[in-house]
Symmetry: C2
Subunit: 132 residues, 2 copies
């Protein structure tokens, strides 16, 4: 019996169904950080989907910060780095937002990485944690 992992009649967009399948393998550890995902044409062939549908699924995972895609490279599960601690002082306020293009270039940030904002200072959230 073939298990239909992607169901066109479910009402859920195909790219979201594919994203859910891939996300599950990342969050449950089947694909550890650094592990390569199947190439886009392979995913399209395996699930009988068009190229754009596969790319939409990967785009969603990239925006969630789960994967990293680079031209010429295989798509991989994003690696985690040991966060650097930054001590906060009394009265300071902490916000978070997505980086501007200038900040993304300055810190070489992939998609899906927010910035921690403390006053005038900004810290890429993939490498900093604030402590009181």
């Amino acid at each position: 019996m073939v298990r239909a992992v992607i169901d066109p009649r479910s009402g859920v967009p195909l790219y979201r169904q594919l994203a859910a399948l891939l996300r599950a393998r990342i969050v449950d550890g089947t694909w550890a950080p650094g592990h390569p995902l199947p190439a886009e044409p392979d995913l399209a062939a395996e699930y009988g989907l068009g190229k754009d549908t596969v790319r939409d699924a990967l785009s969603e995972l990239r925006a969630e910060g789960l994967i990293e895609t680079r031209r010429g490279h295989r798509t991989r599960v994003r690696e985690q780095v040991e966060p650097q601690l930054v001590r906060l002082r009394r009265g300071e306020r902490v916000a978070a937002r997505m980086p501007s293009p200038a900040e993304r270039a300055e810190y070489d940030l992939p998609d899906g990485v927010p910035m921690l904002v403390v006053g005038d200072q900004v810290y890429p959230a993939d490498r900093y944690v604030l402590v009181i």
Copy 2:
């Protein structure tokens, strides 16, 4: 003399050039929060671009948290809400990351809104600021 705002020979992807044009109008206040952007077909016609190129540009601005798109509605500059203050306690650590699909559904979050993480607690960054 016509000023060529989008230059196919510049080497910069067309969708990024369009995103930069639209972003400039948002960050300089020409288009205030809540202001509608031109409809996608209008942007395509105005700049002589294909539909996908326009959508790629809007997707980038959406991921930055600058705009909000909804089917059937006009795309608009994202509204800001007065942030609610949450007081931190000594020893607590603050991180930020993108929300999971479950968190996005729970808080009805648009694209481009990170989560502030304090221990087991999570706070949508578009409506919370942490204070020491």
